[in-house]
Symmetry: none
DNA sequence: AATGAATGAGAGTTCATTCAT
DNA sequence: TATGAATGAACTCTCATTCAT
C-alpha cells in the first residue's frame, strides 16, 4: 500500500494550467492532461473523482492561493482608504505572481458549467474579508455609494481585465500603469 | 432551385445562443444545436463551413448588432463628457436588450480558441468610433489619464460585469444602479 | 423543355477520370465531381440514376472506346501470328492514347463493388473478337496451350501492368520496351 | 495494467480481410470492422493510430507473410532456371495459401491512396531477393532480355491475375493449370 | 497506488440522395 | 433541364470513464 504521490498530483495540476493557457479550457481533456503530466489517464482518477471534481478542486486551491495573506494586508490599524487600496493591490499582485493560475481561475469563472455550482458558491466565501471591509466603510460613510455590487465591480474588474490583457500578450503589467489605475479606482470610490 | 430558408438559419443561431447560455460554450455541440433548432446536423453545414466558421460568423453578427447606432450616439455636437457617457451607455443598453447575444459574445471572448484569430481582429475594428472619441479627448486634455487601456478597462469592464451578474440570475440591471455606476465611472475619468 | 446538355455531361465524366487519377476511386464523391465539373450535385442525377449507375455507364463507354477498331486490326487476311500481335497491340495503344480512361477502367475492375455485376458481365462480351481469334487458333493448332485463361492472362496482364507503371509515374511506355515485350509474349504463345 | 489482447487484435485484422473480400476496400469502414470483429470502434484506435495507419500496418504484415521463406526457395545451389521457377512458384503458393490476405494486398496496391506512400516504398524492399536473382542472371546472360520491368511484369502479373480470377469465383487454381503457366512463363524468359 | 487496455457515447464532418423551385 | 437547399445515414475519430492487473 503506497501513499499518493504528491509530486505526481502536482504535475497533473500544472498540466491543467498549461493546457488551459495554451489551448483554452475548451480543449482541456483528460488525455492531454495525462500526456503532458507524464502519467496514465487512469492515474488522474486516483487523485480526483472525475473531471468536474478535478477542476473544482483545483479551482478552490487556486482561490485559496490568491486570497492567502489578504487579511494581513487590510489590517485595521491603517487608514481606511489605505486598507482598501491594499486589498485591491493584493489581488493584483497575486494575479501577476501566479499568472497561469489566475488564467485558469478566469477560465473557470467564464465557464462555470465546468465545475459544480457549490464550488463557486463556497469560493465566494473566501472573499469575506473584503466584504467586511466594505461594510465597515458603509457604516462610517466612507464610500461614494453604498451599493456593494457597484463597488466590487469597479474595484476589481478593470484591474483583472488589464492584467489579463498583458498576460495574453505574454507580458506583465507595467508597474506604473497598475499604480495609476489603482489610484484612479480607489479615489473614485473612497472619500 | 430552392432559396435559403432564412427562418431556419435564424433558428440555428438562436439555438447557439440558448445552449451557450444554458450549458456554456464548452458544451455547445453541432448535435445539440441541430436538435434544439429542429434541423438536421447536415443542414448546419449548408450555412457554415464548419463549427469554427459558424461561431466566428455569429460572433461578427453579434458584434455588428451591439455596435450598430453607436456613432449617432456620440455625435460631436454634444459636450464631450456627454458623448463619452452616451457611448458607454450605448453598449450597456445593447447588452441589456440582447442578453443572450451579449452572453455569447463574452463566451467567445473568454474562449478565443473557438474562432479564427482574424475574426477577433476584424471585430476590434468595429470599436473604432470609441477609440476616435478617446483620442479626441486626449488632444483636448479632457481625460484624467492619457492611457487608453486604463480608460477602456475602467469604462467598460465594470458595466459588463454588472450586467452579466444580473443576467446570470435571470434578472435585468436595475435602472438606478446602472445610472449610478455610469455616473461614477465617467466622473472618475473625464474632467 | 431543354435538351440534355451533352457538353455538361462530358464535363462530369472528365471530372470522374481526373479525380480517380488524382485521388483514387476511393475518394471519388458526387460532391467532388460536381465541384470539379462546375455543375450542381443535383445535375449529375439528371444524367445518371445514381452513383453506381454513373460509374457503370462510364465504364461501359470506356470499354467501348478501348475496343473500338479492334476487329479491323485482326483482319483475317493477315497471317495468324500477326493478327494476334495486332490484337494485343491494339489495346496497348488504346491504353496509352487514353491514359485517364484506362486508369479509370483498371480502378473499376479492381473495385468491382462500385458497379453493378451485370455491367462487368456485359463488358466482357466486348472482347468477343479476341475470343473468336483465340478459338480459331485452337482449332488450327497455333497455340502452345489450349487453355484460354492462360493465354489471355499472359497476353494482356504484363502489358497492362507495364503501361500502368509508367502512367503512374506520369510517363508513357518507351516504344522500344513495349515492342520488346509484345514480341516476347506473342512468341511465347504462338507457333 | 492490462496486457494487449492479441486475440482481439487478430479479430480486427481478420475482419479487415473479410470485409475487403466481401464488399471491397471502398466499403471498408471502421464501424463495419468493429462490428464484424466484435469489438468497440474505439478499441481499434488502441491498436492503430488511425485508419490509414491501420491499413498500412496490416499491409506490411501481409507483405512479410507472403515473402517469408522466399530466400530459401531460390537457394543458389540450384540451377538458375530452377531458382527462378521456385521464386515465382513461391508467391503463387503463398497467394493460394493466404487468399484473403493476397486479396487485401491487391486491393491496397490498386488503391494506394489508402496508405502512406512510405509504406508502399518500404514494402518494395521486401522483394529485394528477387531483384538480386534477376541481376545475377543478367550478368550471366541467362535472360532473353535485360529489361527488369519486362521480366517482372511477365513473371508475376499473369500468375497473380490467374489466381485472382479463380479466387473471385471462390475456387482455387487447378494445380495443372498453374504448372503449365509457370512453365510457359519461365521458358519464355530464361534460356 | 498506478496504469495500459478497453469502451459506449458522442464529437465534427461528409456522404449520396431527394426536395422544391 | 438545372440547381441550391436540405437531410438521414454513415463516416472517422476523441471523449471521459472503467476494467483488469
Amino acid at each position: 500500500m503506497r501513499k499518493i504521490d504528491e509530486a505526481k498530483r502536482k504535475l497533473v495540476i500544472q498540466a491543467v494550467f498549461e493546457i488551459t493557457y495554451d489551448e483554452g479550457i475548451t480543449n482541456l481533456s483528460i488525455g492531454k492532461i495525462a500526456k503532458r503530466a507524464g502519467v496514465s489517464k487512469a492515474t488522474i482518477y486516483v487523485y480526483f473523482e472525475n473531471k468536474t471534481d478535478m477542476l473544482g478542486k483545483i479551482y478552490l486551491e487556486v482561490k485559496r492561493l490568491t486570497d492567502e495573506g489578504l487579511s494581513a494586508k487590510i489590517d485595521s490599524s491603517l487608514p481606511y482608504k489605505k486598507r482598501v487600496r491594499n486589498g485591491v493591490e493584493h489581488f493584483a499582485n497575486r494575479f501577476i505572481s501566479y499568472p497561469l493560475q489566475a488564467n485558469f481561475m478566469r477560465a473557470v469563472q467564464a465557464n462555470p458549467s465546468e465545475v459544480e455550482p457549490e464550488i463557486l458558491k463556497s469560493s465566494e466565501k473566501l472573499a469575506q474579508p473584503i466584504m467586511d471591509l466594505f461594510n465597515e466603510g458603509v457604516e462610517k460613510g466612507y464610500w461614494i455609494t453604498n451599493d456593494q455590487r457597484i463597488v466590487i465591480s469597479i474595484l476589481f474588474s478593470p484591474i483583472a481585465q488589464l492584467i489579463e490583457y498583458y498576460f495574453k500578450k505574454g507580458q506583465s503589467v507595467p508597474e506604473k500603469q497598475l499604480t495609476e489605475m489603482l489610484d484612479i479606482l480607489v479615489n473614485s470610490l473612497v472619500e
